[in-house]
């Protein structure tokens, strides 16, 4: 099963019940911050008269998991991108790589962790819905298999084309995400990154990384080959020089003896 969340910004009333439920479910300390932080994994932002809930997009092919050298962040079979804290070395490459700037860091702790929405993976595995979805009083957030959510989103756009822009954010962005958004205005106006390609970001690095075996094999053979040719030529030169010296000493033997 590949589950996700559909957020309909036209239904959101901005009550932040999702953010409160998230804090409770994930035992996050402190008040709800105005934007995503290490202690606030989801929060409702106001853009004009539209409420937009921020959270991890749970990409189909996540940059954060792809760049993580130790596999601390990983794409689960269920759909959420989760985090195994005991692996993390704290290199923060995930923070740099994430196109949605979701992973946050505990800068104030001597031994910090990466913190982000993990899609309530334990609840999902137990057959429950994520805390934020359960808490939403306005049905602005729907949980389910991603393809069913896409069908639902398309149905809403089709039945009410005056309300929605014809764009499901997350359907194609960076190869698709498990969190999908509907809105009544273009997403660029709601603080969404609008310069993202439809291809998976990890494919950009893979183009370079996939060449590693070729560099090693062809490069290794080429270098050893060059060494072999050059080295042999120099050995031959040395032998010839020695030969020439022998021959000249043979012909000039008398002279050499006299000199020594």
């Amino acid at each position: 099963m590949n589950v996700g969340v559909l957020v309909d910004t036209t239904r959101c009333v901005g009550c932040n019940a999702c953010a409160e439920a998230c804090k409770e479910a994930n035992e996050l300390p402190g008040d709800i911050d105005a934007k995503l932080t290490s202690r606030t994994w989801t929060v409702v932002e106001e853009h004009g008269d539209t409420y937009v809930r921020r959270m991890c997009m749970h990409c189909a092919d996540p940059s954060c998991a792809s760049v993580c050298p130790v596999g601390a962040l990983y794409k689960s079979d269920e759909g959420p991108v989760a985090y195994e804290e005991s692996r993390c070395i704290g290199c923060r490459y995930c923070m740099l790589a994430c196109p949605f700037e979701v992973p946050k860091y505990e800068w104030d702790r001597p031994l910090p962790r990466i913190r982000k929405c993990i899609g309530c993976i334990d609840r999902v595995r137990d057959g429950e819905v994520p805390a934020c979805v359960a808490a939403c009083p306005a049905e602005a957030t729907t949980f389910g298999p991603r393809d069913e959510l896409l069908d639902e989103a398309r149905r809403r756009i089709r039945e009410d084309p005056d309300t929605y822009v014809d764009h499901i954010y997350g359907e194609r962005e960076v190869g698709g995400t498990n969190v999908l958004f509907l809105a009544s205005v273009p997403f660029g106006q709601l603080g969404f990154a609008s310069n993202l390609p439809d291809t998976e970001m990890p494919s950009l690095t893979w183009q370079a990384l996939s060449k590693v075996p070729h560099v090693v094999s062809i490069g290794g053979v080429a270098l050893l080959g060059i060494w072999w040719i050059v080295n042999r030529r120099m050995e031959i030169e040395k032998l010839e020089a020695a030969d020439a010296a022998d021959r000249s000493s043979a012909t000039n033997g008398v002279l050499e003896v006299e000199e020594s």
Partner: protein, 393 residues
């Protein structure tokens, strides 16, 4: 007397740098990265990655380049260059690892990539290459120590495996020098168009190669000034010619690539990114190419020092532009390092200088061309005021 005060002046500078570095180290490890750095959720990588790691690894590239020249291409002329270069490379990599221990949130887990695999991660590949190459460098450097200790057996063993070892070193270096550029391939929407290109890995490799040779010249000039030990000038002039060729290839390819991406306009726009780019290209490529192309310049001590210093600073500027400025310009995030980040970086650089000085004093680093000086004379060399720039040494 003046010579003495000069020495104590540099000792005082060294002491201040180390003291400030240690103070910053204390804050870093007791209170964390937030208290010690200007890093934030918006700007997670700073000076320690941009300078200490990206520049540190690049400036140590001479190690594999000169090893390849001497042992693979068998150009024996460059043999005297080998040892100082190997020393630089070995120290460079060790200090990069030290810097990483500062930058990683959980430095005691630095070994995790060894047992936890993610072959899709560039960082994973870099981690393995850096670790393996540091081992290779240790093996390549150890004969110098064995020679000092008069241990013949381990020297013979190392000589027997030297060629495969050098080839391995060249391959590993090629991989991670370019991969440091590949780290940024995944952020096309964050890195400014003057620096983001799918060719980043190739450019990182070529520029590292160029600066590797420039660094050999630069260091020889410096150690000539500081310890009276340096390489022969004709040899350095030859290296300067290699720098010209490598930098010329880099320059042409870089502009061809910018043109292909329609990014040339940003160069002449007269805005900050353009000027930063022009600075990097002028210092790193144009000035060294021009200077070193002139025989009179590349055969003079001053010319060699100025040209190589420009090449090195241009390279540093390029890495800072990719790792810091280009990301600031692309994302709008702001970052300027704290005094503690700068202090740690300066401490690591100072340690590098000190270790280089110690090693070249106690190990046969510049031995082959050393004048037959007795101990007393060598001591005198050490404390005497350096010869004025341009003077024949």
């Amino acid at each position: 007397m003046r010579a003495l005060s000069r020495i104590s002046f540099w000792n005082a500078v060294f002491a201040v740098v180390i003291a400030a570095g240690l103070a910053a180290t204390w804050v870093r490890f007791t209170q964390g990265l937030g208290a010690s750095t200007a890093l934030s959720d918006e700007f997670p990588w700073g000076l320690w990655v941009g300078f200490d790691v990206l520049c540190g690894v690049g400036l140590a590239a001479g190690g594999f380049a000169v090893m390849a020249l001497v042992h693979v291409f068998n150009i024996e002329r460059y043999k005297p260059v080998l040892r100082p270069t190997l020393l630089t490379a070995f120290l460079g990599y060790l200090l990069v690892i030290v810097a990483l221990l500062f930058d990683l949130g959980r430095p005691y887990r630095i070994w995790h990539p060894l047992v936890m695999r993610n072959p899709h991660s560039v960082m994973f590949e870099v981690a393995w290459c850096v670790m393996l190459y540091t081992t290779v460098l240790a093996l390549e450097f150890s004969p110098i120590v064995f020679e000092k200790l008069r241990l013949e057996r381990p020297r013979r063993i190392l000589r027997a495996i030297s060629v495969p070892l050098v080839v391995l070193g060249v391959l590993l270096s090629t991989l991670h020098q370019s991969s440091l550029g590949a780290l940024f391939l995944i952020v096309p929407e964050k890195l400014h168009e003057l620096w983001y290109t799918p060719m980043l890995p190739v450019f990182f490799f070529i520029s590292a190669l160029g600066v590797g040779f420039a660094m050999v010249i630069f260091e020889s000039c410096l150690s000539g000034l500081a310890f009276g030990k340096q390489l022969e000038k004709p040899l350095l002039a030859d290296l300067a010619r290699i720098v010209v060729v490598v930098q010329a290839i880099y320059l042409v390819w870089r502009f061809q690539d910018l043109a292909a991406h329609d990014a040339l306009g940003a160069v002449w726009a007269g805005t900050l990114p353009g000027w930063t780019f022009v600075g990097e290209i002028a210092l790193g490529s144009l000035i060294p190419i021009t200077l070193f192309a002139l025989p009179r310049v590349r055969h003079s001590s001053t010319g060699l020092l100025v040209g190589s210093a420009c090449a090195v600073s241009g390279f540093v500027l390029n890495r800072l532009n990719v790792g810091i400025t280009g990301l600031e310009l692309g994302t709008g995030a702001r970052y300027f390092p704290t005094w503690m980040e700068i202090a740690v970086t300066m401490m690591i650089v100072a340690l590098g200088f000190a270790l280089f000085g110690l090693a070249s004093k106690h190990l046969p680093i510049f031995e082959p061309i050393q004048r037959p000086a007795n101990r007393l004379l060598r001591r005198r060399n050490l404390v005497s005021a350096p010869a004025p720039l341009g003077a024949e040494s």
